[in-house]
């Protein structure tokens, strides 16, 4: 059976229902437009805990941590390449942190000349966090801090139910392990844009090359 516009239509449409659905759709469209305000990368370096972690220009403390596969990774073993150390609260319950790590992965996917290490506390190395690590196979070290490094640096906060979690922080170390950039925040909903990290690394590598040329 085919209908025509002229077919008798005596049923009354529910205008109230239509208006309700329309309001819902308009609200969701507004959410669609504004949702990127929930969390986002930030182009400016922040230091909201100046007392935590080593200052720019000082050597990052030596550490040796296990990565998620159990291999022990020492900072001195990474010498010779610049290192980006990203302390993350959780790859389980923190959506902004997952977004931050995925942005890092995209930015550093082709950078074999830089080591990126993501550090989380042992309490946050949950099965869901390990699933995230496995499914998004980024060329990173995922280090599990079971030795109190995060607390010793003053970068420890609290996750749900009081479980220790790292504050969101990023350190860029040069080839000698000296801090070239630090970004420490209290809230994971913003993070330093990877472009800023790449820019810092490019300037530091250029500086290192000039130093070598001078030495030669």
């Amino acid at each position: 059976m085919r209908d025509t516009p002229a077919a008798p239509a005596t049923g009354r449409p529910s205008v109230a229902g239509k208006i309700g659905v329309t309001l819902l759709c308009v609200y969701l469209l507004a959410v669609t437009l504004r949702i990127d305000g929930c969390y986002r990368p930030d182009a400016a370096v922040r230091d909201e805990r100046p007392e935590a972690g080593p200052a720019v220009g000082t050597t990052f403390p030596a550490f040796e941590l296990a990565d998620v596969s159990g291999t022990r990774i020492a900072l001195r073993g990474l010498a010779g390449k610049p290192v980006v150390l990203a302390f993350v609260p959780s790859l389980d319950w923190s959506p902004p942190t997952k977004a931050r790590v995925l942005e890092l992965a995209a930015a550093f996917a082709e950078r074999r000349d830089v080591v990126v290490a993501v550090v989380m506390t042992e309490a946050q190395a949950t099965p869901r966090a390990l699933t995230f690590v496995r499914e998004h196979a980024a060329p990173f070290y995922y280090l599990v801090d079971g030795s109190g490094l995060t607390a010793a640096l003053g970068l420890q906060g609290e996750g749900p139910e009081g479980a220790p979690a790292a504050l969101p922080a990023t350190f860029v170390l040069d080839t000698a392990g000296v801090v070239a950039l630090r970004d420490v925040r209290r809230d994971p909903r913003t993070w330093l844009a990877p472009e800023m990290l790449l820019d810092t690394l490019a300037r530091r590598l250029a500086c290192d090359r000039r130093r070598e040329a001078t030495c030669v």
Binding site: P5, V31, T32
Partner: protein, 148 residues
């Protein structure tokens, strides 16, 4: 052209386009499952997921195929399938909400703008189904159709 006739034609076009899209995506999902599970045709699997993912894709493909068929039927006889418009609008709104939640989850960061664009398109289509579908005849609502 009177407004009612214009909205009638627009509704039929919307239902037909959505129906064709659903049928095509449904076929794609089922073909992807068959390719992965039984008859390797393509050089590599069509989707980056595991065997359970393909199982669910095949199920979703079958459901999309049926949904597309219903929409094509609604495009052919809009007044006698008014409920399909309401159900389709509800499905599209849920699909849009799923995309917004996926955006928020952080796991889909690298496809973030795509998710937002998809959600917006789905919501606009839902509004189309809500406002364009013609009212059903009273006979469908109040009493059974007389037998010929």
């Amino acid at each position: 052209m009177p407004p009612r006739a214009r909205s009638f034609i627009l509704y039929r076009l919307l239902a037909a386009a959505t129906g064709v899209l659903c049928v095509l995506i449904g076929i794609l999902f089922v073909v992807a499952f068959l390719d992965r599970a039984l008859f390797p045709v393509f050089a590599r699997p069509l989707f980056a997921t595991d065997f359970w993912g393909y199982y669910l894709l095949a199920f979703a493909g079958a459901v999309l195929f049926a949904w597309g068929g219903c929409l094509l039927s609604a495009a052919r006889a809009p007044r006698h399938s008014a409920g399909i418009a309401v159900a389709t609008a509800a499905g599209l709104i849920v699909a849009a909400i799923v995309r917004l939640l996926a955006w928020y989850s952080g796991e889909y960061r690298l496809a973030a703008d795509q998710l937002r664009a998809e959600a917006a398109v789905l919501l606009v289509a839902a509004l189309g189904f809500v406002w364009l579908h013609p009212p059903r005849p009273r006979r469908d609502v109040d009493e059974p159709a007389p037998h010929a």
